[in-house]
Symmetry: C2
Subunit: 382 residues, 2 copies
Amino acid sequence: MSTPPLAPRVQAVSDSVFATLLAKHPLPDGPIHPLHVGDTWLAPPEGCGPDDAVLSDDPDASRYAPVPGLPSLRAAVAERLVRRTGVPTVPEEVVVTPGATGGLSAVVGALVPHGGEVLVPVPAWPLFAGGVRVQGAVPVSVPWLAVDGPEAAVEALSARATDRTVAVYVNTPGNPTGAVWSEETLDAVVALAASRGWWVISDEVYDGLVFDGRTTSVRARDPSRVVSAYSCSKGFGMAGYRVGWVVAPAPVARAVARMQTYGTYCASRPAQTAALRALGPAGDAWLVQARAAYEALGAEAADLLGVPRPEGSTFLFVDVADALGGEPLDVLLIDLLRQGVLVSPGTSFGPYPTHIRVCFTSAAPDVVREGVRRIAARIGRA
Amino acid sequence: MSTPPLAPRVQAVSDSVFATLLAKHPLPDGPIHPLHVGDTWLAPPEGCGPDDAVLSDDPDASRYAPVPGLPSLRAAVAERLVRRTGVPTVPEEVVVTPGATGGLSAVVGALVPHGGEVLVPVPAWPLFAGGVRVQGAVPVSVPWLAVDGPEAAVEALSARATDRTVAVYVNTPGNPTGAVWSEETLDAVVALAASRGWWVISDEVYDGLVFDGRTTSVRARDPSRVVSAYSCSKGFGMAGYRVGWVVAPAPVARAVARMQTYGTYCASRPAQTAALRALGPAGDAWLVQARAAYEALGAEAADLLGVPRPEGSTFLFVDVADALGGEPLDVLLIDLLRQGVLVSPGTSFGPYPTHIRVCFTSAAPDVVREGVRRIAARIGRA
C-alpha cells in the first residue's frame, strides 16, 4: 500500500514565497543584494566570533547541556533582565532555546491548545503564525498598520477575540515594520489580556535595537502573564549559532523546557558558551555600535525609498502599489531579482499584496545601499 | 482573570522520573557515577573538539544556515549513505537537524496527524514516545522484550495496529536494550508496513555502534517508506553540539524541513561545520576506536551484572526484580544515589518497574567500572 498523506499540520504551512520564486528565476551573475533575509553583516561581539575558539571556555562543550540551558547562562540572563528592566528574575524563569524561533515554538506548544487561537497583529513575522499553525492552533490576524494609540489597539484586538483566544502576540520593535509600540499601547494591551485571561507572548528579539535607546519591557507590566522570547541572532549578530532564551513564570518555563526536551533537547552547547560571553561587556559594546550603524543605514534607506525613518529593528516595510501599475507584485520581485536584488513580498507578513520588506542590515552597507538604490529606481522614487 | 491552563499536549508528558527523584534526594559529596545519561566520555573526532576552533572553517558561521542544512554537509551525508548502504541518495533527501531528537520530532510532525497512532516496540527511548504525544498523537506500546524472530514481530505489531496506525518506530541497535534486530525481522517489519500502508520511522543513532561491525540499513528495504534519523551525538561523541540528520524521500524531506523552519529554523551552523569534519577520515577513525572501547566496556559491565553482553549501543537493560524484595524500584534507585550512582528506572522506557538502564560509556571507564561494581553489589551479583 502507498504511504499515508503528510500530516495536516505540515500541509497547513507553505514553503516560502521567495523560495518558490527563486526556484523559477535563477539569480543573475554579478553582485547579489540579499535584502530579503533578516540578518546582519556585522561580526559577532569580540570573543564570540568564528575564529575565537569559543568552545574552549567549556571543556564539556561536546556533551549534553541541561535541557533548560547551562546554569551559568541562565543566571547571566536573569541578571541582565533585572539590570535592564528592574523586574525581579530568577534563573528558574529562564529557558535557553535554539534562538527565539525555537523559544516561541516551545512557548506556543506549552500554552496554546490544539484549536486554540492567538491574536497576531499584522503585518507580522511569518514564522510565528506558521509556528502556531503547525501546533494545530489558529493564528488570528489583527490588522495593525492603521492602529494608532491604546484605544484603537484594544478595539482591534477585541474585534477578533473569541472564546477560543488564549494569547496575544506582541512584537516591538516589530518585524517587518520596525515600529515601536508606545508605552500606553503596551499598557492597554497587557491590561486587556489580564481582563480577558489571555497570555501575552512577547517577541523581544529586537530588544536593544530601538534607535533612541529606549528599553521597553512588556514583561514588567505583568510578569505572571507575559512570556518573553529573546535572541542572540539579532541582539548579538549570532543567528547561525541558534541561541536565545525564553523568560516566563517558573511553571511556564518548566513547561517550555518540557516541550524543548522533545524538540531539540537543548540549544547547542558551544553556542550557549558564546552567548554567555556576549552577555558580558563585549556584547554591550557590540550593541552600542550596531545600534548606531543600523540607525544610520535605516535612515539612509528610508530617505532613498521615500518612507518614514524606522524607529528600530532592521527593516522597512514599503508600500509599492504606485509602482505596480495594476500588475501583481511578483512582476516587480522578478524585475528586482534580475538585477540581483532580493526583497520579501508583503504577502509573507499578512494581507499586503503591494508591500515589500527590505532588510537594511543583511549585507555590508555598500551592498545594501546599491540594492536600495535599485529598488528606489524601480519604484520610481530615485 | 487568571491565565489559561497549560496546553494539553504539554500536560501529556511528564518531567523525567529521575529529575523528580534527584530533587528530593540530593547527591552525596564524593565521586558521582552518572550512568543514567546516554553520553560518552570520549572527546569528539580529531579536529572537531572544543579547542579546535571548528568555526574558522566557515567564515559565515555566525549567519543563518539554510533550513535543511549547509549544502556541503547534505552532500557529504548523501555520499556517506551511498558508501555505507548502497542505496542511491541525493542531497535533497537529507535534512540536517538539531540532533536526532530534533530530527525525529520534525519527522513525527510531518508524518503523524493529531490523533494518529505510531507503533512503538518497548522498551524504547522515552523521548520518541513523548515527541509523539506532544504532537497530540498516540504512541502505542508493543511489548518487544520477548519477541524472537520475524513471525513474532509481525504478530506483536499486528496485535496493536488499528486503522489509525500511520507508522512503526524501529530502533536498532536499540536504546535501552542494546539489541540488534535480525535481517529477517527487519525484512518482515518493513514488509508488514508496506502491506498495511505505514511509514517506517527508523532511529539509527547507534549506526556504526554494532560491535561485530555489521551495517544494517533499514532504509535499503524500502527507500520510499523508510525515514531514518541519524545523530552525531552517539556516532561521533558530539551530543552537546546538537547536530544530526534525517534521510527521507524528497517530498518528506521537504516537509521535515518545513516543520523545522518553525521549530529551530536550522541546526547550529558551527555544529554543522564540525559534523562535516566528522564525516571525513577523522570520524571513521573515531568510530573504530569508540566501537572497540565500548564493546570491551559493555562486555565487562555485563559480566559484572550477570547479564548477556550487549550487541551494540551503549546500554544494558537489567532486570533487578530479585534484588527488590517486593519493594518499589525507587528504594533501590535512592540507595544507589546515596552511593553516587545514577541509573535510569525501567519505567522510563515502558512497563518495566523492575528494570534499570545502565549506560556504560557516559563517564570515564574507571568511573563507569566503579559505578557498575556498586550496582552489582547492591543487586547481589558481586
